[in-house]
């Protein structure tokens, strides 16, 4: 998974709040530190793009995302 691995048709990351997701790391006790932060952020941004594609796809079918 890399930042190049973008879904078709996705243009931004408005479907997923990356900052809120990162904040969950502390709650869950997962390591968010100088060794992991950049990689996790990159992957979350990619996942956000895929989620946006899903949201747009669901909207097109008339069944909007949650």
């Amino acid at each position: 998974m890399t930042s190049d691995d973008q879904p078709c048709g996705a243009s931004n990351a408005r479907g997923l709040d990356v900052s809120a997701a990162l904040a969950r790391a502390d709650v869950l006790g997962l390591p968010l530190n100088e060794l992991t932060r950049a990689g996790i952020e990159t992957n979350l941004e990619l996942l956000a793009l895929h989620y946006l594609a899903v949201c747009e796809g669901l909207e097109e079918t008339g069944a909007p995302a949650s």
Binding site: C8, P31, I40, L47, Y51, A53, V54, L58
Partner: protein
């Protein structure tokens, strides 16, 4: 040939080649010889030792093997206890007379399409050792392609049998989800994980599937076969030569209409999210305790997945259901669908890029584009190597309705008979036995 001789030949070939291929993570030479001696003794007494008597095989290092630690491609599990018993799939092959030779390399926890493993090395493509073997079952595909063993097991969650089959030029079956028991395999994504089989011939694949699924595999009638090619998403960016060869192959089956699955991109994104979400949750306890032991690339992907909110999974599941319904509708109209297994032949390791639509794009990110949307439906898919001697392998997916593996074998036999599909030996140091 005796079973002992078959095992000795396999061990010799592994010794000769695996130093440069890195397919194996463990070779169980002594136990294999002992098992072969038992097979030969039984045969000498006139006993039926099974349909795979004396056939050497190996398994991806996520199948439990009694007495061995199941690594799942990670040193995170180095201190785990050895498996008490064999995985069901291993047990069934052994009961049919096959002889386990060893375990095979993979992407860490099966999360990847390249088999570049920080702990166990990169499995190189036997057709060109400067190129990737694909993943995550890269060791399984490379070991068969190089002739080290006749049969291997892997697993396919999002394409991990189909991608390495395509790049290494072997036959690779992802059966109907659940057709082969997963019991005793290290899990990734339960709803998608599928035990897969690699071989150099359809006959071997058919026999192995029958043993592993514990079902007879009947022949199908070619007359009833309705064949179509998947268009749109499944042709965009694909290697033009490979596409032309696939189109020609479709004609030999008497089919070729193009069918567009308009929701394939949606399905790919849904599968991507479901995998990240469930993979992250599966590993989050281990990540808390042992995060330093993971391959950093795997670690960061899994943590990101663990941070996703629950609402996202529900939306991804709804999107996946739409994609599956579209594919199932196509499989009501056609018995067999065809699509490339990968966008291109094997990429170079040094640059890690493939060409799509005239542009270089990262291989790691794009190798699974055509495999992932199909995975969601749980239908059987057989990847077959197009006949292209002297060139890098390129595989195509044959896709059938659930439970119709026999139709796939029959179609593959027809493609082989027509000369459109064939296993080609790589140009290694030694002529195959």
């Amino acid at each position: 040939m005796s079973a002992v001789q078959a095992v000795r030949d396999a061990l010799a070939r592994i010794a000769l080649l695996d130093g440069s291929i890195h397919a194996f993570t463990r070779v169980l030479a002594e136990a294999a010889i002992q098992a072969a001696e038992r097979i030969d003794a039984g045969l000498a007494c006139g006993k039926d030792m099974g349909p795979l008597a004396g056939v050497p095989f190996a398994v991806k290092d996520l199948f439990d093997v009694a007495g061995q630690v199941t690594s799942a491609g990670s040193v995170v599990r180095a201190n785990s206890p050895p498996a008490d018993t064999d995985a069901v799939a291993v047990r069934r092959l052994r009961a049919a007379g096959a002889i386990l030779i060893g375990t095979l390399n993979m992407d860490e926890f099966a999360y990847g399409f390249v088999t570049q493993n920080q702990h166990f090395g990169t499995t190189l493509n036997p057709h060109d050792t400067a190129r990737l073997s694909g993943g995550s079952s890269g060791g399984s595909a490379a070991a068969v392609a190089a002739g080290m063993v006749a049969l291997t097991l892997g697993s396919d969650t999002n394409g991990s049998v189909r991608v390495p089959s395509s790049l290494c030029g072997v036959f690779g079956l992802r059966p109907t989800h659940g057709a082969i028991p997963l019991c005793g395999t290290f899990p990734f994504i339960d709803r998608l994980d599928t035990v897969g089989i690699f071989s150099r011939s359809i006959a071997d694949l058919r026999t192995a599937f029958s043993v592993l699924a514990d079902v007879p595999v009947e022949e199908c009638s070619p007359v009833t076969r309705r064949v179509a090619r998947l268009g749109g998403w499944f042709r965009s960016g694909a290697d033009p030569e490979g596409l032309a060869e696939m189109d020609a192959a479709a004609k030999t089956l008497g089919g070729g209409e193009l069918v567009d699955l308009s929701l394939a991109a949606l399905g790919r994104s849904a599968g991507f999210l479901i995998t990240a979400f469930e993979g992250g949750r599966r590993h989050q306890d281990t990540l808390r305790a042992q995060w330093r032991d993971f391959d950093p690339a795997t670690r960061d992907r899994l943590i990101a997945g663990a941070l996703l909110p629950d609402t996202l999974l529900r939306d991804a599941e709804r999107a996946a259901a739409l994609c599956v319904a579209e594919l199932e509708a196509a499989l009501e109209k056609y018995d067999l669908l065809m699509a490339p297994a990968t966008p291109s032949p094997a990429p170079g390791i040094a640059d890690g890029m493939i060409i799509m639509n005239g542009s270089a794009v990262p291989a790691r990110a794009n190798l699974g584009l055509y495999a992932q949307p199909i995975s969601l439906a749980g239908v059987p898919v057989l990847t077959v190597p197009l006949a292209r001697p002297g060139r890098l392998p390129f595989g195509i997916q044959l896709i059938a309705p659930r439970g119709r593996e026999a139709l796939l074998f029959d179609a593959a036999d027809a493609l082989v008979a027509a000369g459109a599909v064939a296993f080609s030996w790589p140009h290694l140091e030694e002529v195959p036995a």
